[in-house]
């Protein structure tokens, strides 16, 4: 096998860079033709054009035909045989970037003209596969002036068969060529055009006429205003079906904007409102066609955006009539603009960037259908077909699916340097890129234009300061930093300085602050005011640190800040607490009343509040401020009314008392500010009678449910300031407060209580207070007993109740108290029993300790009798230990303990020890006394069916012994004599 010839061809256009190789190989005097193709540098796909080896002649012909075919498509021979020039290139020739050559365009135009000539001479419907109408349309599309004579011939020729659509194509083409002389022709064909194309006739006439103004239809201003409101579109909806007012208005305005360019903005607003759906579809289509006719990129971009962001109409399965703007229509329109852009890029390169810019300016990051990729830190717009065509036509990162929705490719981390369509065209489009930078609303667009503009330094240096001032405030850091670079030399200009200081990025603002001389701020009050009002901390901090430089102008500065605040729309956002702080502290009492007054009248509550605070810190007396007081006290906002109340502190005590009812009502108001201000004023009136009156006024609220959160706290704060009258409060009222169901009343009582004498309460009441839910009350009442032990001793039946306390802490305190303070003189039998009777286990334990510590033999019987009634198992077990010592040989006592015995023995599965003790004790005692034996016999007989074997055994034993000892006592025991069995 031998390679006879190898030719390499290469094609390079835009991002496309591909190669084609043709190889001629000899095998045993016969030849094969192989080829390979693919992207330059990548692995090429291979194939063969010959199934079997053929002769050299045949093989060469095939190889050459391949080469010619490729060269025709734009490939260049870089190595090997060039069949056009018939030369062999040994060295690799650098490929030329293929652009649409002028020559090629001319050839194409000539071909079209030639074809039109042919059409004018023969009645053929098709020439070289092209139809007449299509050819005419193409001539118009490319604005081929040379085609005009041929079209005229076609019009005059009787041989050429012309349909309505042919006339429409002629009309369109004549309009596009734009020769005013052809207006006569247009008039001639006017009657041959379908009625629905009248709007295009008008458009063409407007384009060709020397006096288009005379042709303009009238525009109804009212209707225009209605059309401009988005809300009113629904009203227009019904009308539009019958009268087409909307269409008339839009088209009328479109034509009028040709003559009067000032109407352009209004037109664009209106175009934004054009719905693509029924009944506005027709209007949409007509405006779209006119925009295409005029090459109006802005309008086309707006309409395309409407299409791409509207959902298609849903068709009803039961209705034959299809609604306009179906899914297919939408898909068609989504393809149409990219196609147009492709044609423009190809044939009208000079217009491409203008079109692309208009389309790209429609993109907005706020679009809900946009998608953010965290991995690539990229927000992209899958649904915007034209935008993606412009930005990502050659992208490796983004690709479109079969529905023309764009998505990120898997596994690709980075995109190529120029993924956009026609990158070369953008190189010459710096103004359009700059326009994008100025007006874009999406980061992807900003970054696109920023990257391409960054290399056009020459162009950027020519840009005006105003443009850079706009750019420095953009929400894109790269652009803002670029702008601040270009503004570096003019940073001292107040306008520029303000703009840079209000930039969104810290790094940008830092540049301005680095260049700013703080000492000079004292003379630049405007800048200082702006900086103090800045929402950015570094700017505000800088201004605050140099605030002293403006000491001489504090009033002017304060007034300027207030005036600026009044002009701002978003006061809440800006009026941060730090601005308020500056006004109320360093600039305190400097704002003039004339500057404060507008704040109080402003509809914004935040500003009113600021005004009210500024008045509160002003040194003016009440009578100077009385007008403001009157206005403020009438305000609907409680905070402002509270501010008015605050002004009352400037009055004398007597004067304040005159406003008593106002103060009292504010004191119980639901709004916290009113309560607080009223409290502040009342605190300054130090008169006993007034305090008492205040207390009486608020008293009923203590017993009610807290109306709002915080009310109770405020009332408690108030009661604290009324301390001097605590002693004068009726004791019954205090008791009622302490035991009210309302927590507030309880707390008020707890506040007052420590100021009262314990002597005002009985011991019973004091004991009761030690069980109060408020710890302070418990502590106070307990301390009364601690301080006066005689109270405990003299009223022991009640005071022992201190131990009967549900609160663990107080109960423990009480146990400790009784344990440490009282000795055996105090603890007699009755008191000890009272302690044991308690229900709390710890108190019971204390009681048992007392019994053992201070046991007196003569109390033993009482202990047994009384404690035996205790329901607690612990106490029951405790006294069982007394039985054998203190109840033995006391039949009466034993008989009276019957209930105790029965209770203990009936305990289910517990009290083993106590049960054993009792059974043993009763066994012994029963044998001593008949009455006891009878009682035991009855008791044990009942118990003897117990399933507890150990108990039952003891019961039976005892009963057996009783029965043996006291024959007449009946028990449950029946002695069965053992059966005598015979031997």
């Amino acid at each position: 096998m031998k390679q006879v010839r190898h030719t390499t061809l290469r094609f390079k256009q835009g991002a496309s860079d591909k190669v084609y190789e043709v190889e001629l190989v000899e095998i045993a005097a016969l030849y094969l033709v192989h080829f390979s193709y693919g992207r330059f540098g990548a692995t090429l796909r291979e194939g063969s054009k010959t199934k079997t080896p053929i002769s050299l002649k045949e093989a060469t012909a095939i190889a050459n035909s391949l080469l010619v075919s490729k060269i025709k498509k734009g490939y260049c021979v870089t190595q090997g045989y060039d069949p056009i020039n018939k030369i062999i290139l040994d060295k690799t020739v650098a490929p030329k970037a293929v652009t649409t050559s002028t020559m090629k365009i001319q050839e194409r135009d000539q071909a079209i003209v030639h074809r039109l000539e042919e059409f004018s001479q023969s009645p053929q419907p098709l020439i070289q596969g092209y139809a007449l109408g299509r050819t005419i349309w193409k001539a118009g599309e490319l604005r081929i002036k040379a085609a005009q004579p041929a079209i005229e011939k076609i019009l005059t020729s009787s041989e050429v068969k012309k349909e309505a659509l042919t006339y429409y194509s002629i009309l369109w083409t004549l309009g596009r060529i734009g020769d005013q002389k052809t207006l006569v022709l247009v008039d001639k064909i006017a009657n041959k055009l379908p009625k629905k194309t009248e709007y295009m006739l008008m458009e063409v006439k407007m384009a060709l006429s020397s006096n288009p103004q005379s042709l303009l239809p009238e525009i109804d201003e009212k209707r225009l205003a209605q059309c401009l409101k988005v809300d009113s579109l629904s009203q227009l909806h019904q009308e539009e079906r019958k009268h087409r007012y909307f269409q008339e208005t839009v088209l009328g305005l479109y034509w009028a904007s040709l003559v009067d360019t000032s109407l352009r903005e209004t037109l664009l607003t209106l175009v934004k409102n054009i719905s693509v759906k029924d009944p506005f579809t027709l209007t949409f289509r007509r405006v779209y066609k006119i925009a295409e006719f005029r090459d109006d990129a802005q309008v086309l971009a707006l309409l395309n955006h409407n299409v791409e962001t509207s959902l298609p109409s849903k068709s009803n399965a039961w209705s034959n009539r299809k609604k306009p703007f179906t899914r297919n229509t939408k898909a068609y329109f989504r393809r149409r603009l990219p196609r147009t852009l492709r044609k423009i890029g190809k044939f009208q390169a000079e217009d491409y960037s203008r079109y692309a810019t208009a389309v790209l300016l429609q993109v907005d990051d706020k679009d809900v259908r946009s998608v953010y990729s965290k991995r690539h830190k990229l927000r992209y717009f899958p649904h915007l077909s034209a935008v993606n065509f412009i930005l990502h036509r050659h992208s490796r990162l983004l690709t479109k699916n079969h529905l023309s929705f764009w998505h990120l490719k898997r596994g690709i981390k980075q995109d190529i340097a120029h993924p956009e369509a026609y990158p070369l065209l953008w190189k010459q489009a710096a103004p359009d890129l700059f326009a994008l930078l100025l007006d874009c609303k999406a980061r992807i667009i900003n970054d696109f234009s920023f990257q391409r503009l960054n290399q056009s330094e020459d162009y950027l240096t020519t840009r005006a300061i105003q443009d850079w001032v706009v750019l420095v405030q953009k929400p894109y850091e790269n652009t803002a930093l670029l702008a601040v670079d270009y503004l570096n030399d003019v940073l001292t200009q107040p306008t520029v300085l303000k703009a840079v200081l209000s930039a969104q990025f810290k790094a940008v603002r830092k540049r301005a602050l680095e260049n700013l001389d703080g000492e000079s701020l004292g003379t630049q009050i405007d800048v200082l005011a702006m900086m103090l009002l800045s929402e950015y901390s570094n700017v505000h901090r800088f201004a605050k640190s140099y605030l002293y430089t403006a000491q001489a102008h504090y009033t002017v500065l304060s007034d300027r800040i207030l005036a600026t605040l009044l002009t701002r729309k978003t006061v809440e956002l800006m009026l941060t607490p730090r601005v308020e702080w500056v006004l109320l502290h360093p600039l305190k009492n400097h704002a003039s009343l004339s500057a404060i007054a507008p704040l109080l009248k402003h509809p914004n509550l935040t500003l009113q509040l600021l005004g009210s605070k500024l008045l509160a810190v002003s040194k003016a007396n009440f009578y100077t401020l009385e007008v403001h007081y009157q206005n403020m006290s009438q305000s609907e906002h409680p905070e402002i009314r509270a501010g008015a109340l605050g002004l009352l502190t400037r009055l004398s005590v007597d004067e304040k008392i005159q406003y008593k009812s106002l103060l009292f009502n504010a004191l119980v108001d639901e709004h916290p500010a009113l309560r607080e201000r009223s409290h502040r004023v009342i605190k300054t009136i130090k008169r006993q009678a007034f305090r008492k009156e205040t207390f009486d006024f608020v008293l009923p609220t203590f017993f009610k449910t807290e109306p709002v959160e915080g009310f109770a706290d405020d009332m408690l704060a108030l009661v604290l300031t009324l301390k001097p009258i605590y002693k004068k409060i009726d004791i019954n009222l205090l008791w009622r407060l302490l035991h009210a169901k309302s927590k507030l009343a309880e707390w008020v009582g707890a506040l007052i209580l420590p100021m009262r004498s314990p002597k005002e309460f009985s011991v019973k009441q004091l004991v009761f207070l030690t069980k109060h839910a408020t710890q302070g009350v418990r502590n106070w009442s307990f301390s009364v007993f601690e301080q006066d032990l005689s109270l405990v001793v003299d009223h022991s039946p009640q005071s022992i109740g201190l131990l009967d306390n549900p609160w663990d802490d107080t109960r423990q305190q009480a146990i400790q108290f009784f344990q440490n303070q009282f000795n055996h003189h105090f603890w007699d039998g009755e008191r000890t029993l009272a302690v044991c009777d308690n229900v709390y286990a710890d108190v019971q334990r204390f009681g048992r300790d007392l019994v053992t510590r201070f046991f007196q033999k003569y109390h033993s019987e009482a202990y047994l009798l009384y404690l035996s009634q205790h329901p607690s198992p612990n106490v029951q077990q405790f006294i069982s230990s007394f039985l054998s010592h203190y109840a033995n040989d006391k039949p009466d006592l034993i008989l009276s303990l019957q209930h105790y015995f029965r209770t203990v023995l009936s305990q289910v599965n517990r009290g083993r020890i106590v049960k054993d003790r009792i059974i043993q004790f009763l066994l012994i005692e029963a044998r001593k006394n008949e009455a006891v034996a009878t009682m035991v016999a009855t008791l044990f007989s009942e118990q003897s069916i117990s399933h507890v074997i150990v108990d039952r055994m003891q019961y039976i034993q005892t009963l057996f012994k009783i029965q043996n000892q006291f024959r007449h006592i009946k028990t449950a025991i029946k002695v069965i004599e053992p059966e005598i069995r015979g031997i």
């Binding site: 017993f703 009610k704 109740g801 009384y866 329901p871 023995l905 069916i945």
Partner: protein
């Protein structure tokens, strides 16, 4: 169902070492009912009231163990366990133990830092628990003052137990004031604690305060008003007990020690499998036998002989509720047990001197009185016209308490008519059948009439099931015993279509599985409970 109650202040108890004064605050929205007396039988009254308290707080519903803390700990330990499991090399284990030690130090520090917070939180919860303890049970007892007796009634939180303590006037002395009627009393935990302090050496004054009805001015903080939203099921349960009391029953007596032995067995053993029932085996003139399942222990009650005329075998469930009776054993003379049938309510009457305590238990503790299977208790019995029923009721109102025979004689009516008429009123919660004395008593459960339509059935399916049975549209086709389960098959004709439901009951008679071809079952399976067809074959 919302009930309004208004008490003048709260129930107050004054105790010192010599005396106790109990002043119950009655519901002043109801007809004046009051009673003032001293206690004569202190200790039995204390014990009986304590048993009643046990009913009020009883809640035997299953409460799953809270394993949240354990699970959190386990989750935090997961990594440690895993590391231990795979950490074969010593080095790793050493590093792990060092890390563990460090972690422990950190955790200790964390604990110390947060300790004040946890402490404060726990104190706050304690405060809430104490200051609002009574909110734990809202079901205040009902007290009735009658010419011969004063009785207290209450219903447990789980709606499965009913308690009634009747005290003859001999329990009291020095009765100074009284007005017959029924009222709710303000009950609290403190009151229970005060009951525990009753001793016979202390004078105890017992007052259902009459002053509340005389106060004309209503000071806002003097009155305690409650709007109690009682569950329908609770009210339904209460009414069903009243109704169940008058149903035919099997009766026998138990010696207190028999109950003691029963409770002893239950206390000493813990059941881990079903059935958890007591099977009463009753043979005429033979001692009562109780078989305690699942262990099969048989308790013979030699001192309790069944007086009935035919052999009976009845099973009841929810036996741990009987611990309510524990405190009564020392003071009770005998327990009179009344069983309505297997899986049906049972009544345990503890007879004491001048007092009796009735404990009504539903078929299961989980299946409370108002649940499935008990609604037939609310079915009207006997045919009585409304005029006659009203006449009978008015006649009873005049005397407050009277037997059916006496009323029949007085009104010259058939005794059955009287019983049917009063049965209707007992279903309405207006009349109470006194089981112990075979008397009918006026007892208005609420001050307003109760909505019976709403109360009878807990859902429509129950009503439909009853209607199927009434119309004889239900037929049981087979009943198979499979190991410990019973498979019942049947057919129910509903809307001209024959459904063939199948139900499986376990040894505790609980519905464990069921199938039916109806839309309700196909749609919901058993998620919404059994369908009307399943209920019908279960009830028949």
């Amino acid at each position: 169902m919302e009930f309004s109650r208004k008490y003048q202040a709260t129930t107050k108890v004054n105790t010192d070492s010599q005396s106790t004064q109990m002043s119950f605050a009655p519901d002043i929205l109801r007809d004046p009912t009051f009673f003032v007396a001293d206690l004569a039988q202190h200790l039995p009254f204390r014990e009986a009231m304590s048993a009643l308290h046990e009913v009020v707080v009883s809640d035997q519903r299953f409460k799953p163990k809270d394993k949240t803390d354990y699970k959190t700990w386990l989750a935090s330990q997961d990594q440690v366990f895993l590391a231990e499991a795979i950490g074969e090399q010593t080095g790793k284990l050493e590093a792990l133990s060092a890390l563990k030690a460090e972690l422990e130090t950190i955790q200790h520090k964390e604990k110390m830092t947060l300790a004040p917070y946890y402490h404060a939180r726990s104190r706050y919860y304690n405060y809430l628990y104490k200051s609002d303890y009574d909110a734990w049970w809202v079901l205040d007892p009902v007290i009735s003052v009658h010419p011969d007796t004063v009785f207290f009634e209450c219903f447990s939180q789980d709606e499965s137990s009913y308690g009634k303590l009747s005290c003859n006037y001999e329990v009291f002395k020095n009765i100074t004031e009284h007005a017959y009627g029924t009222t709710n009393i303000d009950y609290s935990h403190t009151l229970y604690q005060e009951f525990q302090k009753i001793r016979d050496y202390k004078n105890t004054k017992f007052t259902i305060d009459p002053t509340g009805f005389e106060v004309s001015t209503e000071l806002s903080d003097e009155f305690k008003e409650e709007k109690i939203d009682l569950p329908d099921s609770w009210v339904r349960g209460f009414l069903q007990v009243s109704s169940a009391m008058s149903l035919p029953f099997i009766q026998f007596d138990l010696h207190p020690m028999d109950v003691y032995n029963l409770l002893l067995t239950l206390k000493r053993n813990k059941e881990r499998t079903s059935p958890r029932s007591i099977r009463f085996i009753l043979n005429p003139d033979q001692p009562v036998k109780m078989r305690i399942e699942p262990w099969g222990y048989e308790l013979n009650c030699p001192r309790s002989v069944y007086q009935g005329k035919q052999h009976e075998e009845v099973r009841i469930w929810g036996r741990r509720r009987l611990f309510i009776l524990e405190r009564l054993i020392p003071i009770v003379k005998r327990f009179r047990v009344r069983l309505l049938g297997t899986g049906l309510p049972s009544f345990w009457i503890a007879e004491m001197q001048d007092m009796s305590f009735t404990l009504g238990l539903s078929g299961w503790s989980a299946n409370d009185f108002s649940r499935m299977g008990n609604f037939d208790l609310m079915a009207p019995r006997g045919e009585v016209d409304s005029t006659t029923a009203e006449t009978v009721f008015k006649a009873l109102q005049a005397t407050w308490v009277e037997s059916a025979q006496s009323l029949a004689k007085r009104l010259s009516l058939d005794e059955l008519t009287i019983k049917s008429a009063l049965g209707i009123y007992s279903q309405y919660g207006r009349v109470l059948y006194d089981m112990e004395k075979d008397l009918y008593r006026i007892r208005e459960l609420s001050k307003d009439p109760l909505p019976m339509n709403k109360l009878r059935f807990s859902n429509q399916r129950e009503q439909k099931a009853i209607n199927f049975i009434k119309e004889k549209l239900v037929k049981i086709t087979s009943k198979q015993q499979q190991q410990k389960q019973t498979l019942i098959k049947g057919n129910v004709k509903d809307n001209a279509k024959r459904y063939q439901p199948e139900i499986t009951l376990d040894a505790d008679m609980r519905l464990v599985d069921a199938h039916c071809g109806c839309h309700f079952y196909i749609k919901n399976k058993m998620n919404q409970g059994p369908c009307e067809h399943m209920l019908a074959i279960r009830l028949i």
